[in-house]
Symmetry: C2
Subunit: 365 residues, 2 copies
Amino acid sequence: MPDSPTRLREITIADLPALARGCAVLGTGGGGEVESGTLIALSALQKHGPVPLVTLDELPDDGLVLPLGGIGAPTVGHEMIHGVHEAYLMREAMEEALGATAVAVMSSEIGGGNGVVPVALAAQLGLPLVDGDEMGRAFPEVQMVSTNIAGLPIEIIGLVDVIGNVTILRPTDWEWAETISRMVSVAGGSYALMADNVISAKRMRGAIIEGTVSQAIRIGRVTEGAADPVAALMGELGAARLITGKVVEVERRTGGGFVRGSVVIDGLGEDANRIVRLEIQNENLVAFEDGAVLASVPDLITVVDMHTAGAIATELVRYGQRVSVLAWACDPLWRTPRGLEVVGPRAFGYDLDYVPVEEAAHAFI
Amino acid sequence: MPDSPTRLREITIADLPALARGCAVLGTGGGGEVESGTLIALSALQKHGPVPLVTLDELPDDGLVLPLGGIGAPTVGHEMIHGVHEAYLMREAMEEALGATAVAVMSSEIGGGNGVVPVALAAQLGLPLVDGDEMGRAFPEVQMVSTNIAGLPIEIIGLVDVIGNVTILRPTDWEWAETISRMVSVAGGSYALMADNVISAKRMRGAIIEGTVSQAIRIGRVTEGAADPVAALMGELGAARLITGKVVEVERRTGGGFVRGSVVIDGLGEDANRIVRLEIQNENLVAFEDGAVLASVPDLITVVDMHTAGAIATELVRYGQRVSVLAWACDPLWRTPRGLEVVGPRAFGYDLDYVPVEEAAHAFI
């Protein structure tokens, strides 16, 4: 749990811009862009008022926590209209399937728009939001969640597309959960609202990354009015700056429910004559320089505007942008053997041993 | 309901070969080949004894009928091993989701292996089998069922793959039911056990095609020991013989959860110098000769061995086979405006008006 001297008790409209900036930073390029999610949350808070922010300890043992997020290619999520009715359909389906009452909404991933939209969903459902999530960042696949690493089986997944089709999946394991959920999201237009393993508050305790909503707001606030926003952000995150430069190449393709591709940054100023290449699967996965790895999953790699420190989603990176690439350490959960098995470089098809960013990028810290 | 002077009261091992032959004929090439299904049914009847055959009227009003069948490309279904556990998982999931007790199994499509396997599933579950189905033949898509034509909404679909992944779908309409079910079946290896709209016996009355299990057995028996099996079969079906000849071309591709392609038959004997081409999407859809339609969906078109009258599934048709192509009238349900909307030639992408086979192929009756 991150340091949190003054824990937030609710999320108000005034918190949304900072939450959105922080979620974008934690999104490592993925989790969906935050702008449309922020508008949705703004509208929901205007209508329903502030959303209480709670810890799992404050929830009744047997109450269901709904870990919600969008599944699909962010480029598509960006273009589709989130309706209000998906959240209602999801709660109804989960309560009926599990014979228990939903007591809170949680972000399944704090990174990107998926960290922001649950504020709206909680407001719409009249439920509190858990201060925590299942990733502490964004990851592209269903099995890449803390509840999996904590050893909980995958028991149920809910999917509701924008049409209103409801799919309830009882998968045999986490990998099948990913395979089938992905196909269902593709069927519904490559995007769906997903509840990733709805279980009781009691069982979820110790199996999530706590405090990440507060952390995202704190990250978003640190750049407000800072003389050097990127430096302020690096200080808050404990991040290395891998390069500052210009985006000179973007390759991006959407298919099979993912965005994949790569981004090349050509160094400016003190980074002149350096080239860093990022590889993407919804999120920034690996940063290479001259064939060497500077940082890789599960550590966080985020592309930010070199002046404002605003994070840039993978689907919005484009030629000519002046950016800094920041990288910092992931939650310790992901550095365990089981964590690396699920989200280490090899889980994404890279034949690389994981090296913590503090070592791999020590020259840039 | 077909004439059925002596209605069967149960299905025994002795009925299986005739049932399999009849289902293959009604399959119009699809519904999965019948051989492996027959072995599964044989094994189940050996273990559990005969399966009672019932009408919907004999079932309790509120009891659930499970309309079961395989969804996916028959070429794949052919290669995958059906387990016993899918049926148990399906019943459990449907009873839990609907809060009612399953009282019978029904074939969702009587055609092909999908008409035979439910005998095994009923035996395994200790339930009777309904003498009827939702198609009276085989069709490739989820919405192509009598309950749809009867005006019932699609409320629930269950899918269980061979791995044991259970998916429950609450679709907004029949077309989404097809789209999402297809994707789920592809995710699980292009094949899954499906329950297509599980509803109470009361609601299902009048919305199925009754008597089709008995009909399939009768069709299978008519060729036993017949001097001219094809003629005997034609007599039972009231079928036209579109051509007798040699298969000279087979084009078949599996993708997106379907088998698609075409088969060309070069006439022999009195049909010399004639060429008939069949177009396929899991089932035989349209028979063309010189650009003219001899028969089309929803009427039934089946390729049979010219000597034994054994029906040949689309995935088993091959070059050099000597065959007769038979075509006969579908259930009147499919010739209604709503029926033709869902399963007429245009529903399969053919810009053709439906002409009943009695007219289109009158020269061959």
